[in-house]
Symmetry: C2
């Protein structure tokens, strides 16, 4: 069975030596000192390895079963969910007022990566609850908050997001689910939603569905969409559970992976719903969930890459096959371990440098959220808004690729289910699709985020990169190995942006045809920046006479690999972008 070991040491390095959290001017960051975060991460890591990991294969094998309207989760899920609740993990970064522990998002993100890496399907139940609770927190009335949040923060009640309908996926303006006002402030919700993760299950007393629907007489399209709270059981005034609401799971989808999570068709038949936020402004409220969810999905990509890498590494060290061409390494054995072979190394280094670079990117993103929310910093808010599609799209695409590479290390053993590597690939695949397929992320990035606030945030990103390079270019080693490649990659990104500005004006398709390449180009520059920052921190530790030089030397070597072997990809992305729309759009649809 695959193992999962929480990357606690790497997270501590990132939090305290790279991101320097306690030194940041963000409310609450003064409390997350190294000893404290170490304790939290250790504890979370233990749960991930000991409680969630063993259930990962069980979830995949058993899946969820719908019988008489009730969904049975896999054996052991309910007990584990109780353990998570008892430990207070679901409310880690939720307000104390509602029973949470009020920790910063950066801690919630680090812990979230562990849980997702150990068991993605399981962790989604609480992840979606977290997203739904955030939306109520941001847009709910005091009464709504008091009614739902304490139960959702504890995960006694779980939450869902209901957007997609059979004919309306990305294009939510076409949705047909209706909301009829009842005069008492409530609405009757009728319609069908599909692909509802954790839509129905047996681990919570109540399920709070957040449902997009159109109020009778609403404007056409996306501007007529409102968001509603539709609880599975109505809630009495005293907070106790009342009658069953008119919502039911009609079917569980058979999926490629994440079998442990119930993906439901949800049927709403005059279900009682309560408006969340303003009429016809449902998308705004939903985007509170969506943005959080997109970062969470980026995290899933990274998390699956990490766990797959850990197991591929073990296998590469254990499996004896062939001999090192430069000289036998295991003379007493019948063969050398796989890890002696250069192409296996290449694959492992790609995986390792992605996982560590991606983790830095994700945690940096989390600090921007903390800075935006806790520090009311509009610039941080703008920057994370720009980076969100990059985190989601790049980390899930690459995360998936890395699970495929990890599976490949096992040869035929990677293809059979027995070793668990196929599950990582199958589970990771969904992250490229849900919460906005990655093509939609690229569109969001190029079509919306780049130009937001007059392009202010992308300029701020370039300033940040330039500032870091300038500040550190006196360091010869850092300059040659990290700053120069970062500068080159960043220039490619700027050139792509310039191309979009110049050619996108003439024809928006000149920009949109390169949107996917741009998202990846941007992702590489972000990971390049992360590696340059990590290298600086590692060098500082070595210069300071650390007692653990291997860790920091390894960090530097891994970073050099990324800069030399992965970052040059920016040039190809730029070349593709600069061909514009013509080669992409040349064919009539009929001639394909």
């Amino acid at each position: 069975m695959p193992r999962y070991t929480a990357p606690t040491k790497d997270m501590q390095f990132l939090l305290h030596e790279v991101l320097n959290v306690t030194g940041q001017d963000v409310p609450g960051y003064d409390e997350i000192e190294p000893d404290f975060t170490a304790a939290v991460l250790e504890e979370a890591g233990k749960i991930a390895s000991e409680v969630l990991t063993p259930l990962n294969v069980v979830g995949d094998t058993e899946g969820c079963v719908l019988e008489n309207g009730v969904v049975r989760t896999p054996t052991g899920f309910k007990d584990a969910f109780e353990q998570m609740k008892e430990g207070g993990w679901p409310g880690l970064d939720m307000p104390e007022q509602y029973g949470g522990q009020n920790m910063p998002v950066v801690i919630g993100t680090a812990v979230g990566e562990m849980f997702s890496g150990a068991n993605q399907a399981f962790t989604m139940y609480q992840g979606l609850t977290h997203g739904a609770a955030s939306a109520i927190l941001a847009h709910g009335t005091d009464q709504q908050k008091d009614t739902y949040l304490p139960n959702m923060v504890s995960c006694d009640w779980t939450g869902t997001m209901n957007l997609t309908e059979p004919h309306a996926g990305t294009d939510l303006g076409m949705m047909r689910t209706k909301a009829e006002p009842q005069g008492d402030g409530s609405y009757k919700i009728t319609g069908q939603k599909i692909f509802i993760s954790a839509g129905e299950h047996d681990m919570a007393e109540n399920i709070v569905h957040l449902v997009l629907a159109k109020i009778t007489g609403a404007p056409e399209g996306i501007k007529g969409v409102s968001l509603f709270i539709v609880p599975k059981f109505l809630v009495n005034e005293d907070g106790s559970l009342g009658a069953r609401n008119g919502v039911a799971c009609g079917k569980i989808e058979e999926k490629m992976g994440i079998h442990g999570n119930s993906t439901c068709v949800m049927n709403y038949d005059e279900a009682t719903g309560y408006l969340l936020g303003e009429e016809h402004k449902g998308m705004r409220a939903m985007f509170t969930m969506m943005n959080e969810a997109r970062l969470g999905v980026g995290m899933q990509g990274l998390a699956q890459a990490e766990v797959a890498f850990q197991n591929a590494l073990d296998y590469a060290k254990d499996r004896l096959q062939g001999r090192d061409v430069t000289g036998v390494k295991n003379p007493d054995g019948p063969a050398d371990p796989l890890i002696v072979h250069p192409d296996i190394r290449r694959s492992l280094m790609e995986q390792k440098s992605f996982a560590e670079g991606g983790r830095a990117f994700l945690l940096w993103g989390a600090t921007l959220i903390d800075r935006a929310h806790r520090g009311k910093d509009a610039d941080a808010d703008g920057l994370i808004s720009l980076l969100t599609p990059v985190i989601k799209g790049f980390l899930t695409d690459k995360g998936y690729d890395m699970t495929v590479q990890a599976q490949q290390v096992y040869g035929g053993h990677g293809y059979i289910e027995e070793w668990g590597m196929s599950q990582f690939t199958r589970d990771a695949r969904i992250a490229m699709i849900y919460e906005g397929a990655n093509g939609v992320q690229a569109l969001d990035l190029v079509g919306r985020k780049l130009a937001q606030d007059g392009g202010k945030h992308v300029l701020a990103f370039f300033d940040l990169v330039k500032g870091f390079i300038k500040e550190n270019e006196g360091d010869e080693a850092l300059k040659a190995d990290f700053l120069d490649p970062l500068k080159a990659a960043s220039k490619d990104l700027q050139a792509a942006g310039m191309y979009f500005m110049a050619e996108g004006m003439k024809n928006p398709n000149n920009a949109l045809s390169g949107s996917y390449d741009f998202m990846h180009l941007f992702g590489h520059v972000c990971l390049g920046l992360m590696w340059a920052q990590m290298a600086k921190a590692a060098q500082a530790a070595l210069d300071g006479g650390t007692s653990d030089p291997d860790f920091y030397e390894t960090k530097l070597a891994t970073g050099r690999f990324y800069m030399k072997r992965q970052l040059p990809m920016t040039a190809t992305h730029l070349a593709r972008i600069q061909t514009g729309a013509e080669p992409v759009m040349a064919l009539d649809a009929a001639n394909f």
Copy 2:
């Protein structure tokens, strides 16, 4: 349910306008005139669409079941297998002497792509039989040929390849399966083989296992390996079936895909076996199968990409979602079809340009085999030997990527099993692994094939590219759009080869660390060459006043896309290669 439409028109274009088969000086090619190949391809295409396609999902859903030593194939497989046999398809390119139709390999390959695209798991039963028959044909005694071939060519008996053992995959020298001579010319085979495709099933009267084993007292390692024929039922002198042999399926593996094919653990317990070829030269005999199988696997990668593309294209035309930013295209509908969106186009063009370029590459490879075997052309033999790992590695890696992209076009619908897109991805995944994982293909290419016969074959390849460019550079349009990019890509490939020569001498890891990138670089140059040749043929048809200008204009536009958007990847591969071993090998295994 997904559809499959055989790409007959594209194949005819390749055979007769690009490869110009009837004009080639290869025995038997004079018979494969356009009318004849059209008839064969039409018929094969019908079987693919009507018989094999409907069984693809059935095979995936039902899988194979082992009960009391008997493997039950999915519902309908047996009937379809009978239909294939009745049509004589399994022996299409086998000698008439043994009941085959003696057609060239290029026809067998085109037909094989259709069958594989329609149902990979099903087609493997006859594909493996074909490989085993080829090995007997090349290395068997007359008596062995007479005993086994007529029944294998007809697929009354099927065949298997038995290489892998639990501890010995790529490193076959470590195998433990023993062969004890019995004095009567036969051997007793004892041992366990794993991952045996079609190892046991209910569609054939007999199964002819080709098994690698070590004869008692054989030399250590790979030089002590011999190949044996081990039939499931012993064959009496009159050709009738005798006693059950000591071979049995111990288990069927649970796999990520190709569920319709039974992947067996095969236990040999003093099974009677007959030496095929010479003692201790089993690898040579096995490589007759392996080389054929590797081309067949490359074909599978392409075939899955093609069928996935066809369905993604249908979906992109049908599914209404969002509006064209440059102007509404479907004013009477609630939204425009997906295909108006540039990023969907990008994805479809990547899929289309790969499938058509890959098909050209594969069929060209097949003509080289015909030229080598039928025409006794040693140069063609050397060239296809060089290209085999490229065909296998590049077409399966890219083929898989394309199934993932096709799945992505469906959004959430691509992740649920209902639409069938997940199966294409899951089935295509194995092709990167079996018959030598793609890392092993890269090693074979760089470590063996490049330098083979003093580097003669790779030089011949470069001459071929240069010759084509030189011959056609008077054509302005062809030069700018096709020849110049091909020249640039080919220069990158040469530079990589030079780097390997110079730096690989100092340290072989400098070459091996870049082997995977080299395989992909080589693949891109091959597809670039194919597109240049196709463009020339398309332009000739247009200049000649074809009655179907859309087909040829589309061909040119698709080729331009490949040259502009895909071929520039060679620069990044070269950049990676030129970093050598240092970044890849920097870490101690313990420090990962």
